[in-house]
């Protein structure tokens, strides 16, 4: 990223910052395929019981692999999706079940920045009208007044206000993301949900956009939910971080603590995959390669959802879903959902799972899921013998 490593201006832990967003046991299932009579319908368990608290002025990071449900979580909080069950309290109001019509005024307080700088801007509309949309939709300003406001916003996010009449295709990726930021900023919302705002950008551009977001946070006192799969980005911007796996939060902690003292083996494995710029340091570090793919969210594993891939798995992990709570004497801000949390300095590579073979994913390419495992295949994780197709 950049050479500056100091904490971002706005991300200094907002002491006693009151709660802006409270999510309790949020569940979102998507039906799969078309419904047939007399047949039980399958559901993707995209978000399956997520609880979190976001304080005012905070940057709350959410990390996880593709498909872990972090974007679904974002869209549920923004009420772009109707939720299956659970409770979302925003600024003291329960918004979990309110209608889209009643949600409309609240949209001025919750905004989103999207991942795809191309897909999130309508290609057939001019930038001025895209950024002016918030004013048009809520009838806040029109005509010359709207144009002035839009051009101010463009200037604030580092765009040339004279490009008011251009189409999105005439901008670079970073500039387009700035357009998205300007649009989200128009309302001066209380909460901005950033759904992987920089993952589609070049690294140098990532830094610019992140710094822009940090400046805006300091200036307008914004609260962010920052979703990413890039751990170094999340560490850089976040005050608290939640790690998601298969629709559940596995660990949640203040950013520094999560990165220095991970408790959940999944967090540990993720952290060991973060590239280290120093080659010597990198060589000395033991990388934990997780075996197999993420299991299907249509029929998630029993107990701890990570158990088929976890090197520390024991039978209780298969049987019981571990609650998200402080482990090994951590403070109340550091929660982990794990029966066998990691000690500080523990090396995950030394562990071998102690659960039944059928409960594990044995193939490195994930083609052999537990229920298809051949009886003859034993031992060797990712071994050649198992390759049947």
């Amino acid at each position: 990223m950049t050479s500056e490593t100091s904490a971002l201006p706005g991300t200094a832990p907002a002491e006693a910052g009151d709660v802006l967003l409270q999510v309790d046991n949020l569940v979102k299932y998507f039906p799969v395929g078309t419904s047939r009579p007399f047949q039980k319908r399958d559901y993707v368990h995209a978000v399956d019981g997520v609880s979190l608290t976001v304080r005012r002025g905070q940057t709350f990071g959410v990390v996880g692999e593709t498909g872990c449900g972090k974007s679904t979580l974002a869209r549920c909080i923004a009420r772009l999706y109707d939720i299956t069950s659970g409770r979302i309290t925003f600024d003291g109001r329960d918004i979990s079940q309110i209608s889209q019509r009643r949600m409309r005024p609240l949209r001025r307080e919750i905004q989103m920045i999207f991942q795809d700088p191309i897909g999130s801007l309508n290609p057939r509309r001019r930038v001025g009208s895209i950024i002016g949309d918030p004013y048009a939709i809520h009838d806040l300003a029109s005509g010359a007044e709207r144009k002035r406001l839009v051009q101010e916003l463009m200037e604030r996010v580092g765009l040339n206000p004279e490009h008011y009449n251009r189409f999105p295709a005439e901008f670079s990726g970073g500039q387009r993301q700035r357009i998205g930021v300007a649009r989200a900023l128009a309302f001066q919302p209380k909460l901005i949900i950033c759904d992987e705002p920089v993952s589609a950008l070049d690294v140098s551009i990532q830094a610019q956009v992140i710094n822009l977001l940090a400046d805006l946070q300091a200036e307008f006192g914004l609260t962010y939910i920052f979703i990413a799969h890039d751990l170094s980005v999340v560490r850089y911007v976040s005050t608290s971080v939640a790690v998601m796996y298969l629709g559940k939060i596995t660990e949640i902690a203040p950013a520094d603590e999560l990165f220095t003292r991970p408790r959940h083996p999944y967090t540990g494995a993720l952290l060991s995959a973060v590239p280290i710029p120093d080659p010597d340091l990198s060589d000395r570090r033991e990388q934990i390669i997780l075996v197999g793919d993420v299991p299907s969210p249509i029929a998630p594993p029993s107990g701890c959802r990570f158990h088929p891939r976890c090197p520390k798995a024991v039978p209780v992990c298969v049987a019981e879903d571990p609650p998200l709570e402080p482990r090994l004497g951590d403070g109340p801000e550091h929660l982990a959902a794990c029966h066998r949390p990691m000690e500080a300095g523990e090396n995950l590579a030394e562990f071998r799972p102690a659960i039944d073979e059928a409960e594990r994913i044995v193939e490195a390419d994930g083609s052999l899921l537990p229920d298809e495992a051949l009886p003859g295949v034993t031992g060797a994780v990712g071994g050649q013998e198992g390759r049947t197709s």
């Binding site: 772009l80 989103m112 057939r124 251009r166």
Partner: protein, 322 residues
């Protein structure tokens, strides 16, 4: 057609031959699909000829009264003495009657010009109705989805399964023929194709993040449909609209041919062809030929232009059979 045209059309770089700086300063402009299509159309000779033909036909239709004055023959004026032969039949083309006369001794040339007004009016207005309905139903079906979509889809299926002519004749007979009835029938009965096209496009677009962004900003469904989705389906709508105009013209001519279209004595190509077909066998060739050629040229010009417009909007840059 297959070549992507010059970047800006006019080259500002050449305007500064002394410094040569113009070449550097010349920017590659982002071009909207509309601009690209326009550039492609400008390169397409068939499109240009078709467009010129349509312009001529429109001008002839607009200035039909001028020709009526020049020839001194009104469109419904009967010339029983000079316009009919000894048997009361049509007279062939001459200096007085450029295209000859019809069975009632009326000037065929003037009547064809007035007939163009009917054809173009029906073609454009019926297409407008069809596109408006198609866009509305397509947007609603595609964006709202669910049971609304199923309902509209069934409606479209039912309408497609009823033969157009049978329904049109039944309606026209029931309501009584007039210009507006014909426009309405042709327009309403042909909304199904644009509706399908728009619905398909909308379904492919509505999952895009900019639609989510619009919802996150608080846009209601109507605003999303008409402000966010419609501009993205307009290209297809324009293409289909251009191809729909000749279909509507032919449909009108067909209805008039069958006697349930524009009521006489208003001059109309379909009705003229219908009348003339009874006289053709007796050697009155001009009576059938001129209205038929007028109809042919008009629909052909619109069809060729429509094809070119479609090719011009094709992101793959055209080719003959796309």
């Amino acid at each position: 057609m297959s070549m992507v045209p010059d970047i800006t059309g006019t080259d500002p770089g050449l305007e500064n031959p002394l410094t040569g700086a113009g070449l550097v300063a010349k920017k590659i402009q982002g071009r909207s699909p509309w601009r690209l299509a326009y550039e492609r159309l400008r390169q397409d000779r068939a499109a240009k000829i078709a467009f010129a033909t349509i312009v001529v036909i429109v001008l002839l239709a607009i200035f039909a009264p001028v020709f009526a004055t020049i020839t001194g023959h009104g469109p419904n004026q009967q010339f029983i003495t000079i316009g009919e032969n000894a048997n009361g039949g049509p007279v062939p083309p001459s200096g007085t009657f450029w295209f000859g006369t019809d069975s009632n001794g009326r000037d065929l040339f003037v009547r064809i010009l007035y007939g163009a007004r009917i054809s173009l009016t029906v073609g454009v207005l019926a297409t407008a109705i069809s596109i408006a309905l198609g866009v509305l139903f397509g947007l609603v079906a595609g964006y709202i989805g669910g049971w609304v979509d199923s309902l509209i889809a069934r409606l479209v299926d039912v309408m497609l399964s009823i033969p157009f002519l049978v329904l049109a004749i039944a309606l026209a007979y029931r309501v009584g023929p007039s210009l507006w009835v014909v426009i309405f029938i042709v327009g309403v009965l042909s909304f199904t194709y644009p509706a399908r096209i728009v619905r398909g496009q909308v379904i492919s677009i509505k999952g895009k993040e900019y639609i989510e962004a619009a919802r996150a900003l608080g846009s209601g469904p109507w605003r999303i449909m008409f402000i966010d989705l419609l501009p993205n389906v307009m290209a297809q709508v324009i293409v289909y609209g251009t191809l729909l105009i000749p279909l509507a013209i032919v449909a009108e001519a067909t209805l008039s041919y069958l006697g349930v279209g524009i009521p006489p004595p208003t001059s109309d190509w379909g009705a003229m062809i219908s009348d003339a077909s009874g006289y053709f066998q007796y050697g009155y060739w001009w009576y059938l030929l001129f209205p038929s050629v007028a109809l042919l040229i008009t629909t052909l010009a619109f069809n060729i232009l429509g094809d070119s417009v479609r090719d011009a909007f094709d992101p793959r840059g055209g080719g003959l059979f796309v």
